[in-house]
């Protein structure tokens, strides 16, 4: 699905990613954990195509395509989805109008027909139920006046609507109470299929009780320094990151 090789990225001349390697296959869930400042959000931003970051070295292959050559919108159209850590409020633009435009532009890119109003509304009903998002929120302005939990649920709702190949959840759990966390995780799990993959970026192990990863990676100082089964997350929860830092720094 995605193969990241020796990725180096910097912002304002400061190198944040320093040779990151990651391989995620269809049907898998990967968790990326790590201390603050390790480069977790940078990785998400670089994959989504934020232009402030400069890629100095490395490659990203996304289903046979050179991801780094694609514009942000084309990455989304090819099936990459980023659930934002801080979803943006867009006053005046209704969620519905936004999603219809989004869905239709993706369809146009793929040479498919526009979705009919009837099918679209049926899809909205089905997918908003998945994340228990009030239908009223679907017709409001994008994220405007939404609570923190509603914003995150709206991200997963959008993910459900767009049905991406690869979803990157950037700290989707941060700031969520346990009920909201359960709803969000439940939504993600229901969307899981053998054809798609998920990268869960998180600071806390708690989310991984609900979204069970196949592989856990530790990102530290711009690189993946350790990978292991889901139990690694528990170990990190228990022991913190210092032992990993010590291990890496000793090398």
């Amino acid at each position: 699905m995605i193969s990241i090789k020796n990725l180096h990225a910097s912002i304002d001349g400061k190198e944040i990613l320093k040779g990151l390697n990651l391989e995620v296959k269809a049907g898998e869930v990967h968790a990326i954990m790590g201390p603050n400042g390790a480069g977790k959000s940078t990785l998400a931003s670089v994959l989504a195509g934020r232009e402030e970051y400069e890629i100095t070295e490395g490659s990203v292959d996304f289903d046979g395509q050179d991801l780094l050559e694609l514009s942000t919108e084309d990455r989304a159209r090819e099936g990459l989805f980023l659930a934002f850590q801080y979803p943006i409020e867009i006053p005046g633009v209704s969620n519905i109008n936004f999603l219809r435009t989004s869905l239709n532009e993706i369809r146009e890119y793929k040479g498919e027909e526009q979705i009919s109003a009837k099918d679209f509304m049926a899809l909205v009903r089905e997918k908003s139920a998945l994340v228990e998002l009030d239908a009223k929120l679907a017709s409001r302005s994008v994220n405007e006046g939404f609570s923190g939990g509603e914003k995150k649920r709206n991200e997963i709702f959008q993910m459900a609507m767009l049905n991406p190949k690869l979803s990157i959840l950037d700290e989707t759990d941060s700031g969520l109470d346990i009920d909201a966390l359960r709803i969000v995780a439940n939504g993600v799990n229901k969307l899981k299929s053998p054809e798609n993959a998920t990268i869960v970026i998180t600071h806390y192990q708690r989310l991984l009780d609900y979204i069970v990863p196949d592989v856990v990676h530790v990102l530290y100082n711009g690189k993946i320094v350790k990978s292991g089964p889901k139990e690694l997350a528990l170990e990190l929860e228990e022991k913190g990151y210092d032992w990993i830092k010590a291990e890496v720094d000793a090398q």
Binding site: S71, T72, I90, G92, V93, L99, T101, Q158
Partner: protein, 430 residues
């Protein structure tokens, strides 16, 4: 010794324009002539014209007003290109001259609607009563040189459902059109008026329109106004409105084209318990310059005024907003809201915004605000990250911004027509 008599530039400007033949007060006309002789075009040193230069209008060579010959047009042409509402009465004027051959529709019961040239002295006795002439060259020019215009008088208690439409076309080169409208809405009456301004094969032409509006006790009037004269043409308009108690007056001004447009709204709220709504959208590009000057004068208590103006400026265009709300000493319990928002889409676009409140009463609720900014780039990225092209993302955000005020238009035909022009001129879909 030779005495040098210097004529004002305005006097030279109007020299070849026809004198008004309307049955209005002769004294008024001579007062206007005096103003023209003694006053020059305002410069940017005049506070009310600080951000709007009139050089291009003053430079029109007015000597040859040949375009006064009517254009060869048919009712079908009006129907297909300019008529906004398919119902109601449509009055067409070309360069200020009434075109009965292009006008159509049923005269509604309870209303007298005709061109001003068909009105007698008694009917026009109130014309010019509250319009300031001193120092107001465009008011004076209009008063001395108005060719024609619409006379609308709605009887007490008459409810006119279908809109009354005025379509004004300016044609030809260097044409100057002085159009005068007189509108009175009787007690407990209700009406809706559409004014739309277009240019047809026009160049360096200038429309100067004054509408006097009297809204009687408990009357409801909505004016939907559309300004879409092609670039290269100029437009100055004044709405002088007098509201009596318990009345509701609403005006929606959509300015989407024209090189220089200036709108003056002077609303005198002379009665208690009135509602005044002023909404305006201006969407500009190239070198357009659009200036909205509004005054709401609350002279009586228990009234409400809502003012919302929004603008989108692209390329080298300039928007000007100056909104003034007066709350006089005895006008207690006034709720006055005023808001102006602007989005600049280019580094060369400019906006000058000046919301003003002058309050002499002590028990009022008033607010005013002005915002100017660019599109939120984070939001553009967010939309792009959902597969929306950068162009569509910007369009979605700009249209959401401007739709806030465009959607104040209740008349569906007028709203649709506005949308179709936004699509025609800017390629926007709604």
């Amino acid at each position: 010794m030779n005495e040098l008599i210097q004529e004002s530039k305005v006097a030279a400007f109007v020299e070849h324009l026809p004198q008004t033949m309307l049955a209005i007060d002769k004294e008024l006309v001579s007062k206007a002539v005096t103003t023209i002789k003694s006053t020059d075009f305002p410069t940017t040193r005049t506070e009310a014209w600080k951000y709007t230069r009139l050089g291009r209008i003053a430079a029109i060579s007015t000597a040859n007003q040949t375009a006064r010959e009517g254009k060869n047009l048919s009712r079908e042409d009006i129907n297909s290109s300019y008529q906004i509402s398919k119902t109601g009465l449509t009055f067409v004027f070309e360069n200020g001259i009434f075109r009965s051959d292009l006008s159509s529709g049923e005269f509604p019961a309870g209303a007298t609607i005709k061109p001003l040239t068909g009105c007698d002295k008694a009917e026009l006795s109130n014309v010019g009563k509250s319009l300031q002439l001193e120092n107001e060259v465009f008011h004076a020019m209009n008063t001395a040189h108005a060719v024609d215009g619409m006379y609308i008088s709605i009887q007490d208690k008459a409810i006119i459902d279908a809109p009354i439409q005025l379509i004004h076309l300016i044609t030809g080169k260097n044409t100057v059109s002085n159009l005068r409208n007189f509108i009175q809405i009787g007690k407990f009456a209700k009406a809706e008026i559409m004014q739309s301004y277009f240019a047809l094969d026009a160049e360096s032409s200038f429309t100067n329109v004054v509408s006097e509006v009297i809204v009687a006790e408990n009357a409801h009037l909505t004016i939907n106004k559309l300004q879409y004269e092609e670039e290269g043409n100029y437009h100055i308009s004044t709405e002088q409105v007098d509201q009596a108690k318990d009345s509701i007056f609403t005006i929606n001004t959509m300015t989407l084209n024209g090189t220089l447009v200036r709108n003056n709204l002077n609303i005198e709220v002379n009665g208690v318990n009135c509602i005044t709504n002023l909404h305006g959208a201006y969407v500009l590009k190239s070198n357009q310059h659009v200036d909205n000057h509004t005054i709401v004068d609350h002279k009586q208590p228990h009234c409400e005024s809502n003012e919302l103006y929004k603008g989108v400026m692209d390329e080298k265009s300039t928007g000007v907003f100056n909104g003034k709300v007066f709350v006089r000493k005895d006008a207690q319990k006034i709720n006055a809201f005023q808001s102006n928002g602007n989005v600049l889409l280019s580094d060369d676009a400019t906006v000058n915004s000046k919301p003003e409140l002058e309050i002499y009463a002590d028990d009022v609720k008033c607010s005013h605000g002005s915002t100017t900014g660019q599109l939120d780039e984070e939001a553009v990225f967010y939309l792009r990250a959902r597969g929306i092209s950068e162009k569509s993302a910007r369009h979605l955000m700009v249209s959401a911004f401007i739709e806030d005020v465009v959607n104040k238009i209740e008349n569906e035909a007028f709203l649709n027509y506005t949308h179709s022009l936004l699509k025609e001129r800017f390629g926007w879909d709604f």
